[in-house]
Point group: C2
Chain length 115, copies 2
């Protein structure tokens, strides 16, 4: 089984719409990164119904630390808000990882809770 | 300018994580539909920073009506939840439209409010 993980910061003052927009940026960016690096993973994930899991972290440090850990081994993209609404320009809001094999992903993210 | 619109039902009992996951499904599905129909639109949208707008509707009828209107002219995908958590299987949760030229999209969605 393949899945994509979206990790969202909960310590920012993001409304629901902002959270959906930022999470979707992470999803599309990580998808494109995976399409370049592992097109076979993308095909299998789409064929399985594109499973997505949304997790939370409570600080910028937790998010960037996870990104540094995971990016050497799996497709991953950090999302920075352009700052047109609600947030300061350059605010790191969330992280997209994969699609990737579930077992490889879980080694990095199993300690995080669902949003 | 190009943008993608994600329209989310607010009459369902979706938590924030569920909403982000369903909205991301809509975003990726509409993106893939656009990649098949208008690859040039996808390239321009990505080059402009992939603008995304998240809107709301308060019923299944409003969402499916908008989908029927828009799908003849623009790339669009309706998302149905698999029902593993929170919702009944087959529940229609949200709609992804585009990326598409802003002016063409606004003809269909300007009457809807931001989530």
């Amino acid at each position: 089984m393949f899945k994509q993980v979206i990790v969202v910061r909960t310590d920012l003052d993001m409304g629901k719409g902002k959270m959906v927009a930022q999470g979707s940026h992470a999803s599309v960016e990580a998808f494109l990164d995976c399409q370049r690096k592992h097109p076979d993973w993308v095909d299998r994930w789409l064929g399985e119904g594109q499973k997505k899991i949304v997790l939370k972290v409570d600080s910028k440090e937790a998010l960037t630390m996870l990104f540094e850990e995971v990016k050497r081994l799996l497709p991953a993209k950090l999302v920075t808000d352009a700052g047109h609404t609600q947030l300061e320009p350059g605010t790191v809001t969330c992280l997209g990882i994969g699609p990737a094999p579930e077992t490889e992903l879980d080694r990095f993210v199993s300690r995080y809770k669902l949003l």
